[in-house]
């Protein structure tokens, strides 16, 4: 609903009651990322640990959610089990439209449930339900039960955690509607610490369409841009999986714990190969006609005489890199098998893949043994990885529990910090060079989507650190406005600042439309201020030696340039966070 204030549902799991709160700030924090930071300022505790029951879990949408195509994402903000600092994770599925049609701009969850519980929320409904019988179930099983328990098939979103989240793993994700995830930095563990197995959001109310006659016309224009032009074809054709071959050709695809950046065996795991053999169909997030979610399948013979079962598994570039090239697995169906195992446990696939790649090298070097890993690990052995993924999710022994806290944490204890491929968290699938390594290691979410560092490495060979830092800060600012709307970042080429202003005006947010530059600048500062207050010190971010050993199409990493770039970006972040928010 179009309104100048925010309508936020604050749920206390300890009392199992909720409170509807109205907050000012539409014209200053906008929604999404901005609203989440504002809500953390109000409900978060910078001085308390991530698993303190008082810490909030925050879900927010933006002013354009549901009103325009690809405004289809939700921001999940929390204090992370991974680094005990404030962070965000983003996901689509049906979460954003469900929240829109539940008529909330945000949901804040505080307290801790006395027993495993599920929140069921709609526009006229709030229930905190005991679901102790779901504790211990994997993502697939809990999904099936929850779908039967609550009505609204197709017009609801089911967020749930698996065993990894229940075990408070810092690598646990929150699964969203089976094929999407609040993946990174342990959002699943933050839910598990609250005894919260699931959140079901039912989108069950409707609103009057904006009265401005420009609105339907503008919608049509934006829709056409997003569906009729070539701009989005890479996302619905091969999908991001198309990057696998491209990066391998560039010698920029991390292989075998980043010991290599290219391998001829890539042919078994390219986007083209997946499309040819394993692609069942595409699906979309609600409100997005692009359909970038690629669904493959695993088929297992579970009994003699040709008894098979099959499961559907979504894939993208990142999961293929994390469970394929990074682990030396070169068959597309083996990759899907590992992704499937990761999904069941409710782990973040990039973190799990990165962690097991380090564990494999540590195993090779004799730093850890089978008594730690419980199964011999070797690059390419997909069956062993499926078993290891289960141990990682379940936290079976001390080694896997340590690894679940983050690869660097485990490396500090067992050795092998030099080859822990961690850039703030386990690396994303781009060995493109100094700009990307800087961007992920120091970026707000430690995500490849914080800024287009990987793309900058590919497009330019800029050695002027000042110019690169300017780009990273500027790009982050533009993205933070998009994630405050909350747009899918795949649409960033379509939603220019001018188009966003038109969209906001057409639905009635005239003041916000006129101040995009200053609002995005303020939100960027606000997010950094909150992050720094929870303990982030950019000068303490260390880069493992392995990253300095990378060789790609540019040649070897330029250590001096890399270190200078990191230093200047650290300074820029600190400067930004110290600037006043300008009203």
């Amino acid at each position: 609903m179009i309104r100048d204030n925010f309508k936020v549902l604050v749920i206390d799991l300890s009392t199992r009651k909720g409170d509807v709160v109205k907050m000012e700030g539409r014209n200053t924090e906008a929604g999404g990322s901005g609203l989440a930071a504002k809500l953390f300022q109000k409900y978060g505790h910078t001085d308390k640990p991530w698993d303190d029951p008082l810490q909030p879990l925050i879900f927010t949408i933006g002013p354009l959610t549901g009103y325009f195509p690809l405004m289809s994402k939700t921001v999940y903000a929390f204090k992370s089990p991974y680094h005990n600092q404030y962070t965000e994770s983003h996901a689509g599925g049906r979460s954003a439209l469900s929240l829109r049609f539940a008529d909330y701009d945000g949901i804040v969850i505080t307290g801790k449930a006395s027993s495993p519980s599920c929140i069921y929320v709609g526009s006229r409904h709030l229930e905190v339900k005991d679901v102790h019988y779901l504790w211990g179930t994997d993502i697939q099983t809990s999904g099936k039960v929850l779908r039967k328990m609550f009505k609204g098939a197709g017009h609801r979103s089911i967020l749930r955690i698996g065993p990894a989240g229940e075990n408070r793993s810092a690598m646990a994700c929150v699964n969203v509607d089976t094929y999407r995830h609040f993946g990174r930095l342990g959002g699943g563990g933050a839910m598990g610490a609250k005894n919260l197995k699931a959140v079901v959001i039912q989108g069950d109310v409707s609103f009057a369409s904006p009265p401005d006659k420009r609105y339907p016309k503008l919608f049509q224009e934006v829709y056409k841009l997003l569906t009729s032009t070539e701009m989005m074809s890479k996302y619905h054709n091969l999908g991001t999986a198309g990057n696998v071959a491209v990066l391998n050709d560039l010698k920029a695809l991390p292989w075998r714990n980043l010991k290599q950046t290219s391998d001829a065996e890539v042919t078994g795991i390219t986007g083209e190969k997946f499309a040819e053999d394993a692609l069942l169909r595409n699906v979309a997030c609600s409100g997005c006609p692009v359909g970038c979610i690629h669904i493959g399948f695993v088929r297992e013979k579970f009994m003699e005489e040709n008894h098979y079962l099959y499961r559907q598994v979504s894939y993208d570039h990142e999961p293929i890199f994390a469970t394929g090239s990074m682990l030396g697995v070169t068959s597309n169906f083996d990759v899907l098998g590992i992704i499937d195992a990761v999904e069941k446990m409710g782990l973040d696939v990039m973190s799990a893949g990165g962690a097991l790649a380090w564990a494999t090298e540590a195993f090779e070097k004799g730093m850890i043994t089978e008594s730690d890993t419980l199964i011999p690990l070797a690059f390419g052995d997909s069956e062993a990885y499926k078993v290891a993924v289960r141990h990682l999710g379940m936290g079976t022994n001390e080694f896997y529990r340590a690894l679940g806290l983050g690869t660097l944490q485990a490396a500090k204890r067992y050795g092998g910090e030099d080859f822990a491929c961690v850039l703030g968290q386990e690396m994303a699938g781009y060995a493109t060079g100094e700009v990307f390594f800087t961007s992920q290691s120091l970026g707000f979410r430690h995500s490849h989507l914080d800024a287009a560092g990987y793309s900058y490495d590919q497009r330019k060979n800029e050695r002027d650190t000042g110019k690169v830092v300017e780009f990273l800060i500027r790009d982050e600012q533009e993205r933070v406005f998009l994630t405050s709307m909350v747009a899918c970042l795949f649409a960033r080429g379509v939603y220019t600042k001018e188009l966003l202003a038109e969209c906001l005006r057409s639905v009635g947010y005239v003041e916000l439309a006129g101040n995009i530059e200053s609002v995005s600048n303020n939100i960027q500062k606000l997010r950094w201020q909150v992050r720094l207050k929870t303990g982030f010190d950019p000068s303490k971010v260390r880069i493992p030696k392995r990253f300095y050993e990378v060789k790609n199409w540019h040649g070897p990493i330029d250590k001096d340039f890399f270190d200078e770039l990191r230093r200047r970006y650290q300074e820029a972040i600190l400067r930004l966070a110290q600037e006043d928010i300008i009203p």
Binding site: A153, G154, S206, V283, S286, G287, P289, I293
Partner: protein
């Protein structure tokens, strides 16, 4: 050629009749088949809800995935694929038969003509529909497909199609009042 252009223009006028009560001279549409909305390729559906959102936005002036003549659901999870809940153009239409006020009346070629101003929110239409195609909002206001076809172009995978009504009905060449006042 002029004839075809004229027919096409009148067809567009016919498609855009929603929310207006206007008088048209249908003489030139004489013989043109009456069409109905069908969803013959739902196995292609990606679940984007663009059709529902378009219907709500353009026909009913709403932001909604419920208050629309076509609604997309799963059969219990995204892995099962999607189904469209929409009017199958019954002829005779049981929803029209039970409507006590004439708010729903039989549409030529199947489905119903809706006159919202006559609706008393009794909800009988939704009960009578064999395929759950009539959505009742919390005030019992009914939403059903009027076979205008405005959702079709918003489907990115061509799941939807306007086809000639199975009975082969054609437009009559008489002046008539168009009363699909669904807004």
């Amino acid at each position: 050629m002029t004839y075809y252009i004229l027919v096409h223009l009148l067809y567009l006028v016919q498609q855009a009749r929603v929310c207006y009560i206007i008088k048209l001279n249908y003489e030139l549409l004489k013989g043109i088949p009456v069409e109905i909305l069908t969803a013959p390729r739902m196995e292609r559906c990606i679940g984007c809800h663009s059709c529902s959102l378009a219907c709500a936005r353009l026909v009913h002036k709403r932001l909604s995935w419920d208050e629309a003549g076509i609604r997309i659901h799963t059969s219990g999870g995204l892995s099962t694929g999607f189904e469209a809940k929409t009017c199958l153009a019954c002829n005779p239409a049981p929803c029209a038969a039970v409507c006590p006020t004439g708010a729903f009346s039989q549409r030529k070629g199947g489905g119903v003509v809706v006159r919202k101003r006559l609706c008393i929110r009794c909800g009988e239409c939704a009960k009578a529909c064999p395929v759950d195609a009539v959505y009742l909002d919390p005030s019992q206001e009914p939403f059903v497909c009027i076979h205008c076809g405005r959702c079709v172009s918003f489907c990115p995978h061509d799941c939807l199609e306007m086809v000639a009504s199975p009975g082969g009905q054609v437009n009559e060449g008489v002046e008539k009042e168009v009363k699909n006042d669904t807004g």
